[in-house]
């Protein structure tokens, strides 16, 4: 029997009080307990970045956190990027630049890029590459992904 703990957290702007198993990761809870399946499970050792979410402003691998650790914290997942049905500028740029091929890594790429642009609104190519170095794309669509992040940064009109 798993021990559970009640935590209070804000996920995508919505305050939630949830009971989580203490031995479940944040990734487990997002996907299996509250149906936020946009966050992807892949390597589960913190190397691929598919499970990246933003916690209190910093991108983190949700596979490497226990869910109890988000108690009192603010979490943004890929579902939280759109506003009132409108894609964020970054999401739109990913579409415009055809940055998604198979698409599996894209939620993680978007979260890392969102955190990068929040901190550094006008990054260089190298800064984008470093900011997304923890997000692997097995389709190797790095060129388009980098282009999309730079386009979003520059506010290229659609």
């Amino acid at each position: 029997m798993n021990e559970t703990l009640t935590i209070r957290t804000t996920i995508n702007g919505r305050k939630r009080t949830i009971d989580v198993a203490v031995n479940h990761t944040l990734l487990d809870v997002l996907r299996d307990d509250i149906d936020l399946t946009g966050t992807k499970e892949c390597c589960v050792v913190g190397e691929c970045g598919a499970c990246t979410v933003i916690v209190d402003g910093r991108p983190m691998n949700s596979c490497l956190m226990l869910a109890v650790e988000i108690d009192g914290k603010e979490v943004t997942t890929v579902e939280g990027l759109e506003l009132d049905g409108e894609l964020s500028a970054l999401q739109a740029a990913f579409l415009d630049e055809s940055a998604a091929q198979c698409g599996f890594c894209i939620p993680g790429q978007l979260m890392s890029a969102t955190a990068l642009l929040a901190e550094n609104p006008d990054p260089s190519v190298e800064e984008v590459q470093e900011g997304l170095a923890g997000n692997l794309c097995r389709c190797a669509g790095y060129e388009q992904i980098t282009k999309a992040v730079l386009a979003a940064a520059k506010g290229v009109p659609r």
Partner: protein, 289 residues
């Protein structure tokens, strides 16, 4: 992962009491970047996980005290890399902190955890050795301070005894012009464990030291006895012999998949020369102001 109990002590004393009671059945959770993987893979199966992130004394903080910077156990790599005092006084530590894992890992991984995990490839070990860091340990008998060179013991092993945990790492601010540089060898740039970690430090009196890891059971600190390595007037080509001598302790494992022993030994000399040159350049810059 297996079920375990989860504890959230509010003070260091409470954490120490839990550790003393449960001994090897308890594991500490700081950044979790190693622990969560170990839990999932059943490499460790503790009965109790002790989350240190609700102890105010361990909360992320870099504090300047008389002659040193104190970095609390909860401080993550990103905090260290972004701190202007660390950048100014201890640039080699920043160089190590910014190459750990990825942005995501650096936002979680603590420096205290990096040292306590006991990996021979820990990026921050060589600069901590070169800068003479001191590990602050709390335990049942109170607080003690251990030189990082004595704290690091071997793969997965530290000087920590039952009931003890690291509360902070103290780094003396060099009291004289000092040049230091960190470099590493990896297969690719992002998210890789190092095949070599290396830090060189030099002062104006010509004293040189090199700390290097990932080529033996632990990171080693070696002082230059030739007096040649720290001399900016001698060309790097003429330092081959004393430089080679610095790496006598290197014994890279045949079992590691990251790089062959021969390759590591060859690259150790290359990285050593490179870091030494950078360190000397930084020292010269400090001297001419």
């Amino acid at each position: 992962m297996n079920p375990f109990q989860y504890a959230r002590p509010a003070t260091v004393a409470e954490a120490v009491a839990l550790l003393e009671e449960h001994g090897p059945d308890a594991r500490l959770l700081a950044g979790g970047t190693d622990l969560v993987i170990e839990l999932r893979n059943h490499w460790v199966e503790p009965k109790l996980v002790i989350d240190l992130k609700h102890i105010p004394e361990l909360a992320p903080a870099i504090t300047q005290r008389k002659g040193f910077l104190s970095i609390s156990a909860g401080t993550v790599m990103t905090d260290i890399a972004e701190d202007e005092r660390v950048q100014h006084h201890l640039p080699a530590l920043v160089e190590a902190a910014v190459v750990v894992g990825s942005v995501q890992i650096r936002a979680r991984a603590t420096m205290a955890g990096n040292i306590c995990n006991g990996s021979p490839a820990a990026d921050t070990a060589p600069p901590l050795l070169v800068y003479d860091a001191v590990v602050v340990v709390a335990g049942p008998a109170g607080t003690r301070r251990v030189a990082v060179n004595d704290f690091i013991v071997g793969p997965g092993k530290t000087d920590l005894q039952r009931g003890e945990l690291v509360t902070a790492i103290e780094l003396p601010i060099p009291d004289r012009p000092y040049g230091a540089a960190y470099t590493r060898l990896t297969r690719r740039r992002g998210t890789d464990l190092a095949s070599i970690t290396l830090c060189a430090g030099v002062d104006a009196a010509g004293a040189a030291r090199i700390a290097f890891g990932s080529v033996g059971p632990r990171a080693f600190l070696v002082e230059d006895e030739s007096g040649l390595l720290g001399d900016p007037g001698i060309r790097i080509e003429d330092k081959v012999e004393p430089l080679d001598k610095m790496f006598e302790l290197a014994s890279p494992s045949l079992k590691s998949l990251r790089a062959s022993p021969d390759y590591r030994l060859a690259m150790l000399r290359v990285l050593g020369a490179r870091a030494l040159e950078t360190a000397l350049g930084r020292l010269t810059k400090e001297l001419v102001g």
